[in-house]
């Protein structure tokens, strides 16, 4: 049975990844699973300079989901290269570094320095504010194109462009990323939402608004992945509310080449492992020899 897939030059032994911001830098889950058993780990997003993050509370629960407003808290690139990157080899699985910047140039710089430090795969977190207007980078096809292009030029790494779902038509953004040279696109990041405590009438999050994730978003995420897979030729990495192998299979059948597991890691830290073995069971049962046979195999009649 073959579960291997490629995202550009990046080879994954299976199509199940841990999503950015939900798996730390890989180390945190060592008591629950062996990283080598999952396809890859995507790190918490790092930025050039250290970031403080948002005011607490940063988390609140919603119906079958959660809102977070962490605010890209991280210790910055230099600390990452010095203190985190050296530990990656021990994890024995590819580590994809998620990055965010405030301009195409900064994304390019980050990617270049990471490549120089031996990183071979990068996920571009394009859900960051664009300094030029009040939009997020991946809310605008033109800025998306510019950022991906800048990274493509600056670095040899495999590039995954991660898109925000807070758009009218995700297809045009995905196409812009593809045209700029992304090796794959991943979606979805969180949906912007909010919650209010009626007793105090105050917002439940220190930052007022935050990103919705978890089972609640799955049907919308699945629809967006399906739409995107229909218009780009590069692989699509699907995520949003995946808790079980069946849900991961839905994304794969809709056209995703791989899936990322996010919020589920908090509830059941072994979810990614369970999804890998569930996908294998499904393949065995349905006599599927290669995961590629499943990708985009949705039947309309």
């Amino acid at each position: 049975m073959n579960t291997e897939i490629f995202l550009g030059a990046l080879r994954l032994k299976n199509p199940v990844l841990a999503a950015s911001g939900t798996f730390g830098y890989g180390e945190e889950f060592k008591d629950f699973l062996k990283p080598k058993d999952i396809g890859a780990i995507v790190t918490k997003t790092i930025t050039f300079s250290p970031r403080q993050g948002n005011l607490p509370p940063r988390i609140t629960e919603t119906a079958a989901g959660m809102l977070n407003s962490i605010g890209l808290e991280n210790k910055g690139l230099d600390d990452f290269i010095k203190n985190k990157a050296p530990g990656f080899r021990k994890l024995k699985t590819p580590v994809i570094v998620s990055i965010a910047g405030d301009s195409p140039r900064e994304y390019g710089e980050l990617a270049k320095k990471l490549c120089a430090a031996g990183i071979s795969a990068i996920e571009l977190n394009l859900s960051c504010p664009n300094l030029k207007n009040s939009k997020l980078i991946s809310q605008d096809p033109k800025t998306t194109y510019e950022v991906v292009k800048a990274v493509r030029k600056a670095a040899k790494a495999a590039i995954i462009a991660k898109l925000t779902p807070n758009v009218t038509d995700i297809r045009e953004i995905a196409i812009a990323a593809e045209e700029a040279g992304a090796d794959s696109v991943s979606l979805v990041n969180t949906f912007l939402g909010m919650g209010i405590d009626v007793n105090t009438r105050r917002p439940r999050l220190g930052n007022i608004t935050g990103g919705l994730s978890g089972p609640a978003i799955k049907p919308i995420a699945l629809r967006m992945v399906w739409e995107t897979a229909g218009v780009v030729k590069i692989p699509v990495v699907g995520m949003g509310g995946i808790m079980t192998a069946d849900e991961a299979l839905e994304f794969i059948i809709a056209g995703a080449s791989a899936v990322e597991i996010g919020t589920a890691n908090f509830i059941e830290p072994k979810t990614s492992l369970n999804v890998v073995s569930g996908i294998k069971d499904y393949m065995r049962k349905n006599k599927i020899k290669d995961i590629k046979e499943l990708i985009g195999s949705i039947r309309y009649k």
């Binding site: 730390g24 607490p56 609140t60 959660m66 908090f266 509830i267």
Partner: protein, 265 residues
């Protein structure tokens, strides 16, 4: 010591009501029990489905042989579901989590509990008692603060651990009338308590802990305080449980829940 976190499906030995909406849950969790220290907590998955979705954190209240005990208040969806669980059912639990109290062998230990903050302090008192049995001069004073008389719990447990228990109630229905921080101030008027021989341990609502920070700063004593914050992962991966400290944000689940009072802002 290398920290190990266990995930286990563990059996409920008993889950009994001890107050209007206060409960004691005893779980058979041999591996977690053997690793736990006072101040640490566990993350409990109270339902298999997605309501509620996230695990709920609870302090380890008491450890006896292979059993751990949780003392909790049913105040919302998760804790209400938990309160309906029956002996013999299983719960998915992760723990022990976080950094607990540093147990210092000072002559005087003053434990200050505000409301449900009493939960981790019983386990602490029991461990302190073990130190005490080596040094007969040691004295443990417990200040139990609650809204009203019916909300005072665990007196018996503290007394069993040889503690001197003092009570405060906001409405004056039992013991000292007023806040537990005021009781602490009056206790500290006794000049026998010095930085060299006294350690204060506290758990309760944030305003109370902040005030304790102020009190100890003004009289030159040291305190360890246990914080609460909303949590998702409980293991330092999501950065959701950030609490502001003098040295920037710290994570309650991993750097805490116990912090030095002087670190709080």
């Amino acid at each position: 010591m290398k920290k190990i976190i266990i995930q286990e499906k563990i059996k409920i030995i008993s889950n009994s009501r001890v107050g209007r909406n206060h409960f004691r849950l005893i779980l058979c969790a041999k591996r977690i029990a053997s690793l736990s220290i006072p101040g640490q907590f566990i993350e409990v998955r109270v339902a298999e489905g997605y309501e509620p979705l996230l695990r709920r954190p609870f302090s380890i209240h008491h450890v006896k042989g292979p059993n751990i005990e949780i003392f909790y208040q049913a105040i919302g969806r998760g804790t209400e579901i938990l309160s309906r669980k029956k002996a013999g059912e299983f719960l998915d639990v992760i723990g022990p989590l976080g950094k607990g109290f540093s147990i210092l062998n000072t002559q005087y230990s003053i434990l200050v509990a505000g409301g449900m903050g009493v939960a981790p302090l019983v386990f602490l008192a029991e461990k302190l008692k073990e130190c005490k049995s080596k040094n007969a001069k040691c004295k443990i004073v417990v200040l139990l603060g609650a809204k009203t008389k019916n909300h005072i719990f665990c007196q018996k447990e503290f007394k069993k651990a040889g503690c001197d228990v003092k009570i405060s109630t906001d409405d004056g229905s039992s013991g000292f009338g007023g806040r537990v921080t005021d009781l602490l101030k009056s206790v500290l008027l006794n000049t026998q308590y010095l930085i060299l021989n006294t350690q204060i341990y506290a758990c309760g609502p944030k305003p109370m802990l902040k005030e304790i920070g102020g009190i100890v700063a003004s009289c030159g004593l040291a305190a360890q305080v246990s914080l609460e914050e909303y949590m998702a992962c409980g293991i330092g991966a999501c950065l959701g449980c950030a609490a502001q400290t003098k040295s920037g944000y710290k994570y309650v689940c991993k750097d805490g829940p116990v912090f030095k009072a002087e670190e709080l802002t």
